[in-house]
Amino acid sequence: MKKDCCIACGKSDLSKNEIGINKKLIGDEVKIFYCLNCLAEYLGVSTEDIYDKIEEFKERGCNLFD
């Protein structure tokens, strides 16, 4: 599995925001990543919740996000 593919569904070319939110919500040393939908499912929350978190981090100027 390529590093920038979703570990659950195989979606390729994960975006910077997708990689960033995995690091924020799973851990900064995480080596495998989920796409937003699979991350939401893994964490038991809605995809909307994940989008809200990404916006929060962007507003705070975190450079893990576009």
């Binding site: 690091k23 924020k24 919500l25 799973i26 851990g27 900064d28 964490l43 929350v45 919740d49 978190k53 975190c62 450079n63 893990l64």
Partner: protein, 394 residues
Amino acid sequence: MIKSKNLRKEVVIFLTNMKNHIIYADHAATTALSVTARSAMSPFLEQQYGNPSTRYSLAREPRNAVVEARKTIAKLIGAKPEEIFFTSCGTESNNWAIKGTAFHYIGQHKRIITSCIEHHAVLHSCTFLKKLGFEVVCLPVDYEGLVNVQSLLKALTENTVLVAIMLANNEIGTIETIKDLSLVAHEHNVLFHTDAVQAIGHIPVNVEELGVDMLSASAHKFGGPKGVGFLYKKSGVEVEPFMSGGGQEMQQRAGTENVASIVGMAAALKESICEMNINTIHLNNLVEQFKERMKVSKLDYIYNGSENRIPGSISISFKAGDGEMLLHRLDLKGIAVSTGSACNSKYVELSHVLRAIDISADYAKGTIRITLGADNTVGDIYYIVQSLTSILKK
């Protein structure tokens, strides 16, 4: 194992309602406005809007309300009404006490002693004074966050103008031995200020017993409104006014009084002190429940701070954890807590308090602060522990 049938029922109801429920466990950051405070404020947000400094009858009620609030707060902390000065917040009170004292004695004394775990309102005020030529000494603390009396003794010189040490720490909850520290300062004829923002309304605070010359407080930490606080300044203690302008606050702090908030602050402080004993028992029980549940979680963690701490305050560090990750994952589960570390993409920056207590590197990054309030329940504790366990074991 939940033994009580009622407790089990409480947990079931609680879990059922969880979807739209926020468990607020960050009371050291702020508290909800109490119903009592809101009711007390209401007339001054509506019909009683007169400026207390004006001379017509519309001002009478607001003016009397400010006088009564000052008397109430003074009585609650063992002070005289003329020793209470209303400010906009705890930060302003700290700034005023430190800079006002330094400016009053400018050219005479230059050393200011503080501790390395103070709130930034204190530390940054000291940094500001350092740029103006003052000498700032930051005393170290031990692993519990306690300032040693001997280290203060060694730092005091004839050139010292002020000692500023907090009553209780905002991150780890440790209560300092202010009575002993102020005694040492006074033996050297040095003024003593304490930042009591995290303490007042949560533990007994009496300025006479503490032996302090100045004390800072903020209303929103004890069920009052945001945007108001006070500085206790002992009679005879001279500091430069912080705000220039009108003659409000006995010529010491200019600016039209925030009447509604001042009234709300007095009501909230009275209520929190009246309910302090029962709240302390409740909060101590919740902390015990938390610790008992954590014991069976099989997670690797340590607690930070002293045993003598603010009721309901928990600073916990998880081995190989990530405090910021925990904060956001708990948030997604409807739990509001705080963390002692902030990170960017390159490194994790520990708070100055965690660095000062020299917390083990294996645990430091995984620190969160849980500060419980009177409205928290045993069900909340179970859910917090269950959530922490599921996140950290996943």
